[in-house]
């Protein structure tokens, strides 16, 4: 069996390998090294949860700590990308996008189109997403739909260490701006990851479980909730097919449509708030493009349309559970054409 490492280590390794391979790859972010300007340890943090720890020893000043100015340094990463570098900027929590969104959605995302195709902006913005950390409303959001809505950026949200490494390497090599969403509650999740470098192409969803009865579409942490649900449903004789989107933009609708054509039923699971969500997006596309294959109404499993609460029992209720996924599957199986 291959080596098992955590998602955190997979990110570290992908960055390490790409920095070694390509001198134009640089990293920047708040405390991604840590200890700058002080009298203690350099590389004191390696990012707020230690993801980039150890890279400074290998790559030195190609990792840059930044002042607490996301507009300036995310914008600088974008500007440097437009001038031939391949910067990987860390936004720490995706919730902080509100102080620097213009640089992402009006600058990086639009350069190529606005400039008539004459610009390339190969920047990667890494950010933690998702709830479950008891970090409350401003440090726990998904926000993937906000980026997915914007043409010109690519949005990635892996569910396993294997995908994380391969997709991050692809993100760095990709010539378009990429928002790379790391679920903080998966950092410790371990899985098999080859040591050698590899890239996973964007726009290829992964069928992580085959099944005939219903299609469950998910990404990030929700893939694991879907897998849990599958285990309990299997005991009832219900076999669900699980599609892990992996990249939200571009999105691999073909795989989703193929699966729905086979199963005739669709449940979309999303940790983002429901309105204008990824779940809604996938549901709508299926309702438009594979209506004939649908045997019952589509189900969406999302948090309620509320901010993320702090108190642990509330937060646990907020995040879609395996039980909710299973219930939605049962519901769509009961439904049918009148």
């Amino acid at each position: 069996m291959a080596r098992k490492i955590s998602m955190k280590q997979a990110i570290n390794e992908a960055l390490d390998q790409e920095m070694a391979r390509d001198p134009s790859v640089i990293c920047m972010g708040e405390d991604i090294v840590g200890g700058a300007g002080g009298e203690g340890e350099r590389d004191a943090w390696g990012g707020v949860l230690g993801v980039t720890k150890g890279l400074y020893a290998k790559h030195g000043d190609r990792l840059m700590d930044t002042p607490l100015s996301e507009s300036a340094y995310i914008g600088a990463a974008i500007g440097a990308a437009a001038c031939g570098m391949r910067p990987v900027a860390e936004l720490m929590f995706i919730d902080f996008m509100g102080v620097c969104f213009d640089q992402i959605f009006n600058q990086a995302a639009k350069f190529k189109y606005m400039f008539g195709g004459k610009a390339e902006t190969p920047v990667v913005i890494r950010a933690m997403v998702g709830a479950g950390f008891r970090a409350a409303a401003q440090h726990s959001q998904m926000l993937t739909p906000l980026f997915t809505h914007i043409p010109g950026i690519k949005v990635v949200c892996p569910s396993t260490p294997y995908d994380t490494k391969g997709l991050l390497i692809q993100a760095i090599r990709d010539n378009d701006p990429v928002i790379f969403c790391e679920h903080k509650n998966l950092y410790g999740f371990e899985g098999e990851v080859p040591e050698a470098s590899y890239a996973i192409p964007f726009g290829e969803a992964n069928v992580v479980r085959d099944g005939r009865d219903a299609t469950v579409v998910a990404y990030g942490l929700m893939v694991h909730r879907a897998l849990e649900a599958a285990a309990s449903l299997a005991k009832e004789g219900i076999e669900i097919e699980i599609v892990d989107l992996r990249t939200l933009s571009p999105i691999d609708m073909d795989t989703v449509l193929d699966s729905v054509t086979k199963t005739g039923r669709l449940v979309c699971v999303d940790e983002a708030n429901p309105r204008c969500s990824i779940a809604a997006d996938v549901s709508a596309q299926v309702a438009m493009r594979a209506f004939g294959a649908l045997k019952a109404g589509i189900e969406m499993v999302t948090p309620p349309h509320v901010p993320v609460p702090f108190s642990p029992p509330l937060e646990d209720l907020y995040i879609p559970s395996a039980a909710q996924v299973a219930a939605a599957v049962r519901k769509t199986l009961k439904g049918g054409r009148h």
Partner: protein
């Protein structure tokens, strides 16, 4: 009151001490309880910085607004937010300042003029411009104060607010709590100028730097600029140089600190020790008069913890309420 060299009465001095001591006990207790795994989430402690909160807030009433930071407990306590409700909140319990929905980083009490701790760096500064604008319309001489860390002072929101406050001549005060670090990064890496007074000047604001571990230094500087703001004299910036006793957040190993740094700040830059030394040396308050306050503060905190542990958690019904005033 012959023999009192301080600009405050003995009663006021005791009140200030009680505020600082309550904050200290509150934070040290959280440090212990977090270490035990009793407290969920991110917790940023204010211990070591108490003189700033106390020295500023003593000038304020409930009609004066403040906007705080992620390191907000001290500001809350000094602004009069109920310690018991705060503890309930930090434990995620029903009856907490935010009914368990906010947690440490979002404690607010608008009835006390406390507009919220904030998980977004620099975000309080624009809000305080708005509070100051409202005060200007109300014409009751109220002021609004934004707290910001040395690191967060590089946020565009904060910088824009300095200009807006100057342009609109708002009764707004910007307090930079300079504790030398932004997370693990030294203040001197993140900010290229030595003094925040220069930065303020670049926006047309008067600024002043004080030793934020010296209650009296803070008290006087804050009093002066708050008075000016109340009288229509416009905004100012106050830099408090201070120390943080604990890590950036609980769980931080603090390897970025220099050798002996933590011992030194606890020994030589403890604002509570300084205050006690000052008032006892002047013969205004005796150590025996401070001791009961220490005991009472401890009791208040212990009581708060006990009640927080015993309190019920929010339930599913709470999950979907409070999003809108009207649906």
């Amino acid at each position: 009151m012959a023999g009192n060299p301080f600009p405050l009465s003995k009663a006021e001095l005791l009140k200030a001490y009680r505020t600082m001591r309550t904050i200290r006990e509150f934070e040290e207790r959280l440090h212990v309880d977090f270490g035990r795994g009793d407290i969920p989430g991110f917790v940023h402690l204010y211990a070591g910085e108490e003189a700033a909160a106390a020295g500023i807030m003593i000038h304020l009433g409930d009609g004066d607004r403040i906007a705080s930071t992620h390191r907000g407990h001290g500001h809350c306590i000094a602004k009069g937010v109920d310690v018991g409700e705060m503890m309930l909140e930090i434990y995620g319990k029903k009856g907490g300042s935010c009914n368990g929905k906010g947690g440490s980083m979002h404690i607010a009490d608008l009835s006390k003029g406390m507009m919220g701790a904030n998980g977004i760096l620099g975000a309080g500064a624009p809000l305080v411009c708005g509070a100051a604008l409202a005060a200007k319309y109300r014409k009751k001489g109220e002021v609004a104060i934004s707290f910001v860390g040395d690191g967060a002072s590089n946020q565009g929101t904060f910088l824009e607010s300095l200009n807006l406050a100057a342009v609109w001549n708002l009764p707004a005060i910007f307090v930079v709590e300079n504790n030398g670090y932004a997370e693990s990064t030294s203040r001197d890496y993140g900010v290229a100028v030595d003094s925040y007074v220069d930065r303020a000047a670049g926006f047309g604001l008067p600024g002043i730097t004080v030793d934020g571990t010296d209650f009296f230094a803070v008290y006087e500087a804050a009093g002066e600029i708050i008075r000016r703001a109340r009288e229509g004299g416009g905004p100012s910036l106050l830099e408090c140089k201070m120390v943080r006793f604990h890590g950036h957040f609980e769980g931080d190993a603090q390897t970025y600190r220099g050798p002996g740094e933590l011992d030194d700040i606890r020994a030589n830059h403890d604002c509570l020790k300084k205050f006690a030394a000052q008032v006892t040396a002047a013969g205004v308050i005796s150590a025996d008069e401070l001791a009961p306050i220490d005991r009472e503060a401890l009791a208040v905190v212990e009581d708060a913890v006990a009640r927080a542990k015993a309190a019920p958690l929010p339930t599913v019904a709470d999950l979907t309420t409070d999003v809108y005033v009207s649906y």
